[in-house]
Amino acid sequence: MTGPAAPGAGAPEFVRQLVVRLRRRGLPIGLDDCLTLRSALAAGFGIASARDFEALCVSLWAKSVSEQETIRAVLAGADIPRWDDAVPVEDSGTTVEQINIDKSEMSDPVSLPESPPPADKPPPRDIPTVHRMTGMSLMPPSTGQFDSGLTVAPQYPLTAREIAQTWRRLRRPVRYGAATEVDVDATIDRYSRTGVFSGPILIPPRRNTARLMLLVDRSGSMTPYGNFVQHLIREIHHAGRLESIATWYFRNLPSTRADTALLRELPDPFRPELDPILARIAPSSAGRLYADPELTEPRTFASVLAETAPGTVAVIVSDGGAARGTLQTARLVGTIAMIKALRCPVAWINPVPAARWPGTTAEQIARHVPMSELTAEGLHRAVDALRGRPRRTERPV
């Protein structure tokens, strides 16, 4: 295919518009998908009516129920010619003929607007009917029709796919469990050494033993990011095929009391860097975490740590004071004490853009812990840090 392959060149305007809108909603529709749509249309699919066209787009482009709703909503909002061909598609004789013509002209620019016949009668749209209300009605009057144009689907800056792709990289394959796999090398090795074949050697299959602990800040300054962070956590749970995922919530820090006595020993009280005393901050497992985002089921931080299996990696999702733009040295000390108490690889995900970190506690924390933004690239770096390849931090804890 040469000329007409580009969706903007050969295809009518509404296809380009549709693709742009879908891509904006996080559906990675590419050239290949457009070509598939065109060849399906040329084969006679989805041209009987606007509804058929919608079903075709869903079949080809959607991969889950939420994506199906997104496509329907975008189609309902896009400026697409409405038509309803009264001729049934089951008429196989004409269909085959049409296909043959279309096939032979595949290399020519297939003019899509011609395949849907223009509406010659007023489009039979579903007209909402208003029912007379009798007495007290609890429900608002309904048209009885589901209008996908009114579907409001949450749109987050990161799609479920992007989050899934990143977190799948968190793996720690270890062989354990029942021995079910044949170790061919070991079997041959034993045979060549003994000269007698005495049955295969079995080994357990590999499994992902990565354990993840998510520590999520639910303080007031995190409220604007609350839904987005919940979406992130939901998708990590859904996508990550890990041994276990534990999610704990806290407000600012597990404990409000930080050992600030050390701060007096800083040589310059006007410089926030903790480097001279960093090594002397003691790990602190004081305070409590909560099992639910509403912060109603407290558990002591120490008991959570005691139950954490070795080999767990931790992710802290918090703004680190960047949302309010404040610098609190006490909080900085408390944060470092908490991270020291975790005793495992830690990555910090900060939903506040990096441009707003300078001058806040977050900037100081980022000097000691790998901190990344809540973007696709940031998540990528966070997973790298958890896999043991962190970006260089100025003064690691």
Binding site: A55, K63, A239
Partner: protein, 305 residues
Amino acid sequence: MQTRHRVDTSLWFNPEETLPPSRTIEDVTVEQEPYRFTPQLASAVNLAISLGRPLLVQGDPGVGKTRLAHAIAYALGLPLEQAHIKSTSKGRDLLYQYDAVRRLHDAQLRRWGTKGDDARAYIRLGPLGRVIARAHEGHRSVLLIDEIDKADLDFPNDLLRELDELAFTVDEVPGWGYAVPRDRPDLRPIIVVTNNEEKALPGAFLRRCVFHYIEFPDDPADLDAILTMHEVTRPDLREAVIDVIGRLRQIDFARRPGLSELLDWAGFLQAVRTPAEEVAGLPYPDALLKQRADQVRAAERLGRR
């Protein structure tokens, strides 16, 4: 253009066609699969066949995802290969399995015998391998890959190339392999993949599929037709069952009763000759509701009337 991507509408699946109660497909007598296709589902099936892409079917448990492949195979008169995926399944198992240990064992015995060593004797083709090999020989077939989300994450990724090119080679025997002939799109296997959404599938695999979500049939006429198909012959019983299920679907259960439970339940009510007026009292709820809390809730809601 690759065979894989050529549109081919020579085989058209028509759900309206009346089928015999049983038919012989390549020496095997198969019973008819009672299945009701919505126009959207039939068109998705035809789209998948024409484009030569796997049909990815999703939907609530018990809505008829697995039976779909049986129904398509029966309607088209093609043999059905089935791959039921387990948590230990590997992508290569679907193509072929190589029994290295038995070969080693035999090699030891051969010192005393004269039998030659042929690696092919230790290769057993898997469902996808058989389907491609059959196409290689000029026979079309239907392949069901059931519950693909049960396997490891790598499973769908390992099959990308094979599903894309519909060809594979046996690594243990150089030069041995099968492929769907490039100029014969009419031999491409019809692949139905079911997914329970327990885990997210990789995007690269999803991109290659045609998607369809099977909804629970909410229209009483559809339910009536489905019940009739499954030999619930008494019209008064069907009506009572549909009425009860309509009310049950409005309660938010932890686990909503699916189509297969409904058919079990209605079939049993018919077999024990339950009078239609007793159905509203929800007899034998154990076939329909599988959680204690749901049963209590249903009894409260339906008993209050």
